[in-house]
Amino acid sequence: MITSQESIIIKTLSRFLIPFIQLFGLYVIMHGHSSPGGGFQGGVILGASFILLVISFGYDEVKKRFSKRNVMLLTCAGVVLYGAIGVVCQLLGGNFLDYAVLPISQPRSMGMLGIEIGVGLTVMAVMVSIFRDLLTY
């Protein structure tokens, strides 16, 4: 079990750094369909920011905000978002994940963005879940 660090340098630096890591993870997810990166890499970066939070502030502090149930809900929400976009494309008359039939502007980019967000949510929650299971084993 990781307990809270006494070092004020580690606490201040991680408190300053974590929002920027999360912003970079969101950037990687949002630009995944047109540049290097994507849902998996962005999700791993987001998960790494939460792991840094656990390492610097201790597990007990973070446990209040990240219950096991919420992490599992996030995991399932990502998979459901992925599947729902595919099924909506099927209901509108196309194939599974056939973005071109979606009734929005730039349907391919927007459909792919939804897929990336689903993948990112699942990967982030699974990374936090693996880390937490290893920590509390």
Binding site: V28, P36, G37, G38, F40, Q41, V44, I45, G47, A48, I51, I55, M127, I130, F131, L134, L135, Y137
Partner: protein, 81 residues
């Protein structure tokens, strides 16, 4: 491709890999494996595979090192063999 940069990165990668295999302290071994991942990532950037390098930098050098360090803290630090 710049062959001097390639040679330096390859040498550092091999040195990190051999070090991670031979060192007695398992915590140092985990950190050396992270360094190996970082040099592997730089090699992939240099070869033009930016997407693979991105995955290697986030998974290989980031998450894996943290998981190995936690595993070392949960077991013991000295290698037996």
């Amino acid at each position: 491709m710049i062959w001097q940069l390639d040679l330096a990165l390859l040498l550092l990668t091999v040195v990190c890999a051999i070090g991670a295999l031979t060192v007695r302290d398992l915590l140092a071994s985990a950190i050396l494996l992270g360094a190996f991942g970082l040099f592997m990532c730089l090699l992939w950037v240099e070869m033009g595979a930016v997407d693979v390098a991105f995955t290697e930098a986030s998974v290989g050098a980031g998450i894996t090192t943290v998981l190995f360090v936690i595993a070392v803290f949960k077991t013991e630090r000295k290698s037996k063999d």
